[in-house]
Each structure stands twice: as C-alpha cells, then as structure tokens.
C-alpha cells in the first residue's frame, strides 16, 4: 500500500502507435505512480483505447518504450509476459465476459488458469469478489446474456480483480450506466483502490468520475498528453480543448460546489 508510493509503476516514453499511414499515438510520455487513480480523458477517437491496449501489450508500438513494474512490455518472452499479466487486471469497454461461461466461472477463470486452489476456496473467493463489487451471490449461476449493462461491468471488474492485481486498467467503466449507477461505480472504484491498495488506470469520459475518483488526470490530444495533473490544474488550464471540456455546459453541474 504505502510501500513505494510515488514510484512509477507504468512508465511510457516517446511512444508512437499507428495504423497504416496515421500515427494515432505520436511521441507520448506518461507515468503512473503506484497507488494512484489516474484518469485519462480525450475526445472520442483520440486514441485512449489504443494507448491502453498498447500498454497491456495487445497492440505493438512503432517506437518508444513502455515499462510496467519495471519490465519492458515490448521485449518480453512468453513466460515473463504471463508473470506480468497476472499482476494486472483489465476491464474492457464492453465487459468482454465469456458468453459461454456463468458469472462464477467467469470470475474463477483466471484463478483456474494461474492458481491451484481447492474448489471450496475458489467458490468462496468468487463470492467474496462479487460482493466486493456490489453483487449478490445469486448472480453466480447466471450467464452474461442474462445480465444488465451495469451488472456486466461489475462482473467484469470482479474478474479483473480475481487475482488481486496491483494495477487495474479500466476502459470507460461508467459509459452506458445511468448516472446513479455510474456514481455507485465510481464510489466502488475509489473504495477498492483504497482497500486493496490498487493502482487504477482509468479511461473515462465521465466528468463526475474525474471529480469523484481520480487523483490525477491526463489529457490526450493529437497523440500526446497535453496536460497532466489534479483537477485544479485542469480547471486552470488555458488549452482550448481542456477549457471547453472542463468549463463547457455539461461540466458546470459537475464542477458545481467543488471549486
């Protein structure tokens, strides 16, 4: 928890990622410190998902360096990758639950792959994780097609947390949730990051989330991080996009009473 706080757990330098002739990410540098909740914002199509997918190794960079836990993500062998991958959890934009498996099996899937646990312990931990993300034990035997959008996100979060990772990556965790559900989810992320000492890397569009959860915000535009700091830095920024994003009509309500 407090151990090594402040040290960069994710370290990105001069990263360039592109498709065809376009570089979506162009010379980007970013540090995420252990134990913090980082919010990444940016316009639709700015490359937030691409950046996240590159950091977790799903896309390959053209140039630049990515280190997670001090290991170079690009130049790793399969065995090292596996060791790293169990130390992070990922919540994909649409949940990405395995549709053929029940909720319990989804949450237990990483445990089955990586750990040799008794069935009793697996069942108990799965229930404990589901309750941690605010679900009841009776969703266990349901299948993803039977769940609502908010429940899918919660189950996916429980699955991402299955192995007690040090980092969780969240891609727009509250998109598609109603405001109350989204606020609950923000609260949940805050609590979990405190309780479990998680480092959270969160892509979001949700101003409320930024206010409620994030210790630090990074703004992605034109393939680079154009501003980075706490919400007060954002509100003070002169950059036109940041101004309209944080001072626009939609943001007034979110800012209200917090400045």
């Amino acid at each position: 928890m407090s151990e090594g706080a402040g040290e960069a757990i994710i370290h990105v330098r001069d990263l360039t990622v592109g498709f065809g002739a376009v570089d979506v990410i162009d010379g980007l540098s970013l540090d995420v410190r252990r134990g913090e909740v980082l919010g990444l914002v940016g316009g639709s199509g700015a490359g937030k998902s691409v950046l996240m997918r590159t950091i977790i190794g799903l896309l390959r960079q053209r140039r630049g360096k990515i280190e997670v836990f001090g290991c170079d993500v690009g130049g790793m062998r399969a065995g090292e990758r596996r060791a790293i991958e169990r130390r992070w959890g990922v919540l994909f934009q649409h949940g990405a639950l395995f549709s053929a498996l029940s909720v319990r099996q989804n949450v237990q899937f990483p445990m089955r792959e990586y750990l040799n646990l008794s069935r009793r312990l697996r069942d108990e931990i799965a229930i404990a994780k589901l309750e941690m993300v605010g679900l009841d034990a009776d969703v266990c035997e349901k299948f993803p097609a039977q769940l609502s959008g908010g429940m899918i996100k919660r189950v996916a979060l429980a699955r991402a947390l299955a192995l007690d990772p040090e980092i969780v990556f969240l891609d727009e965790p509250t998109s598609g949730l109603d405001p109350i559900g989204a606020a609950d989810f923000d609260e949940l992320i805050r609590t979990l990051s405190r309780t479990l000492g998680l480092t959270v890397y969160m892509v979001t569009h949700d101003l409320d989330s930024l206010h409620a959860v994030c210790d630090r915000i990074a703004v992605l535009a034109a393939g680079q991080v154009i501003e980075d700091g706490p919400i007060s830095t954002m509100l003070a920024s002169d950059h036109p996009w940041i101004r309209s994003y944080f001072h626009g009509r939609r943001s007034r309500a979110a800012n209200n009473g917090r400045i």
């Binding site: 646990l117 008794s118 312990l121 229930i127 404990a128 309750e131 266990c140 035997e141 007690d164 479990l196």
Partner: protein
C-alpha cells in the same frame, strides 16, 4: 523475500497454551501466490483448535495481505465460531484493517447446487430433445408462413423488394460458388464413369454405364451434390450472419423501426438461393456429364461422338426436368433452415456455433429426406 521460508506450511504456527487456549501465530505473505499452502495451514490450525474455547490469532508478523489471505483469516474465524470456539485477531497492522473489515462483511450463502436424480435427469434429456424437435418443426412452419406473407406483400407492392440485396446474395451464393461446384461435380461424374466402366467391362456392358451416368446425374446426384455443397457453404453463412445480427440486437433494431426482418433480411437471401441452386444444379449436372465423358474417352476408349449419341438415346428431357424441378424446393428448405437457426441464436458465442452446425446438419438431412419423398412421388405418377 518475506522470511516465511522454512518448514512447509509454517505461515500459521500453532502453540497450545494452558487453560484451554490456543495461540496461532501468522507470518509471511498472506497473498494469492501462497493461497493453496495457506489454505492447508488454516485447515490444520482449525484441527488444532477443536475442543478449545478460545483462540488468539496473532497477525503481527504478516508482511503482506490481500483478499485471499484476508478471506482465509475470515474463514478461520468463522469456522472456529462454528465449532463453538471464540477467535480473536490481534496485532493486525492498521493498513490491513479496511481490507479485513471489507472481507468480513462477505455474506457467504453459497448458492445451493441443485442435485438431480439421475433417472429424472436422463428422462429430462429425452423430454427436452423431443420438445426441441417439435419446436423445430413449429419454427420451420412459422418461418415458412412468415416468408409466404413477406412474399405476398412483395407481390402486392413489388417496389418494396430488396433487389440490390438479392443481387448481392446471388453473387455470393451463386456466382462465387460456381468454381467449386463445377470442380466437385466434374470429379463426381468422372468417378461414377470410371467405377461403372471398371465393373461393367467384364459383362461387356459399358454402354449401359452411359445410361446410368446420365440418369443418375441428371435426376439425383447433380442436385443432391449441389445442395449439400450449398448447405455447407451458403446455409452456414446465412445462419452465422443472421445469428451475429441477432446477438448484436440488429434484428431488434429493425423490428423497433417497424420493419420486418423476414422481409428485409431473410426474403432476399432465400430468393437468391432459390435462383442460384437451379442454376448451379444445371451447371453442375453438365460438368458431371463432361467429367464422365472425359473418362469414357480417355479410360474407356469411347469417342466423344459415340458417348454423346448414346447419351441422347439414354436420357429424356424428363430426367433433366425432374432434377431441375427439385432444385428450388431444396433451396427453400436450406434457406428456411438456415434462417430459423440464425434467428434462434441466443446471447453466447457458443450458441452461434451450435446453431451454425445445426443449420448444416439439418439442411442436409432434410434435403435427402425431400429427395426421397420426390422419388416416391415421381414413381407414383410413373415418371
């Protein structure tokens, strides 16, 4: 790294104290990597705590704790309470308090796994399969009806027909299927001719092989082979496309716009299939005859002119017409089965796979069944 090496399972050490007390000393990393060992230690500690009133668990030397460790601790406390003891946790580092508190609130009501009587379960399987078969029939009938309605509407208002869509599908299931169909039927004709010549040669009856080839290919094999290919190639594609649309709620979106998915998605596909299969059957039958002719020429030593004149004597227009007559019906069956299965896809990827397989298997089965019925029908009317 955390000083917990040494005796196996020594992350929880037990010492009996006077006065019916047990003290457990925890140490090292209580984390997910050690969870399997830790569970055993906890089990042993519980064994040592039997018939003891009071158990102290000293967590002071625990360096790291995560949900796995916290849960095992919580489980130990609960299990001790369940056998009538009382457990106290001491020395827990403040930084672990929130986690242990949160895990302590876990409300374990493990969902009751329903036990089935094996006999009842076996009967249930049979019952479900029967019901499923009946439902299949019902769905087939329903789709046929819905199609009839859709086509009736199209006849009343022809401009609503999705011509572009149909032409697109005709290109996919007809034009693009031609090469493989021609190749396969050519080979099939060649094989029938070769086998016939080889076996009938001893009776000097090679001439009759031409009759057999002509009748067999034009009446039965041509259309059957084409239908099997089409079911595997295009029926499966229809099912997968419709199924994926169903999964992504595209079908529901059409419905909410007041549009009929049958008219928009299914009708053009089936119309394309009903046009393509007769054409493919025609081309395939010719390819099979050509394949047979080539074998007669090269292997049987029969000049093409002789083969052709013999063929002209052997076959009548009826044989040819019967083969072609069956084709659109079979196309209809393939298309309807593919659409029914596609629209029956439920949420999961597995269901999509199962439906696609079912579509091909059922279509081929029904095509062969239909061919049998046609054979009986034509025999009855003396053709």
């Amino acid at each position: 790294m955390d000083g917990s090496t040494g005796l196996a399972g020594d992350q929880l050490m037990t010492s009996a104290m006077p006065g019916g007390r047990v003290e457990l000393r925890a140490q090292g990393a209580w984390t997910v990597e050690r969870a399997a060992d830790l569970e055993q230690s906890v089990g042993r500690a519980l064994g040592a705590s039997k018939a003891v009133r009071s158990v102290d668990i000293d967590m002071g030397a625990v360096a790291r704790l995560d949900t796995y460790g916290a849960w095992l601790l919580e489980r130990l406390v609960r299990d001790i309470a369940a056998i009538g003891g009382e457990a106290r946790i001491t020395g827990l580092a403040p930084r672990f308090h929130t986690l242990v508190g949160a895990i302590g609130r876990t409300n374990l009501a493990p969902p009751a796994r329903i036990r089935h009587n094996p006999l009842v379960a076996a009967l249930a399987v049979v019952g479900r399969a029967t019901l499923e078969a009946l439902l299949d029939l019902a769905r087939f009938a329903q789709m046929t009806g819905a199609l009839a309605v859709a086509f009736a509407r199209i006849v009343a208002r022809p401009w609503t027909f999705r011509l572009t869509s149909m032409v697109h599908h005709l290109d996919r299931v007809g034009w693009r299927a031609l090469p493989i169909i021609v190749l396969i039927t050519f080979l099939l004709g060649a094989i029938i001719a070769q086998q016939g010549i080889f076996h009938f040669r001893q009776f000097n009856a090679e001439f009759f092989v031409v009759d057999m080839l002509g009748v067999l290919v034009l009446r039965e094999i041509g259309v059957l082979m084409v239908c099997v290919m089409v079911a595997g190639r295009s029926g499966s594609a229809y099912t997968a496309e419709l199924g994926a649309m169903k999964m992504r709620e595209e079908i529901d979106a059409l419905r909410t716009m007041g549009l009929d998915p049958i008219a928009i998605l299914v009708a053009p596909r089936i119309a394309a299939l009903s046009l393509a299969v007769p054409i493919l059957t025609f081309v395939g039958s010719i390819a099979a005859l050509v394949g047979g002719g080539v074998v007669f020429w090269l292997y049987g030593g029969m000049a093409p002119e002789i083969f052709l004149s013999r063929l002209r004597d052997a076959i009548t227009l009826d044989h040819f017409a019967i083969g072609l007559f069956k084709a659109p019906f079979m196309a209809l069956v393939i298309g309807i089965v593919a659409s029914v299965e596609g629209l029956a896809v439920a949420g999961s990827a597995e269901s999509l796979g199962r439906r696609t397989t079912a579509s091909v298997v059922k279509a081929i089965f029904l095509v062969i069944l239909l061919d049998g019925l046609f054979a009986m029908f034509f025999a009855a009317i003396g053709k």
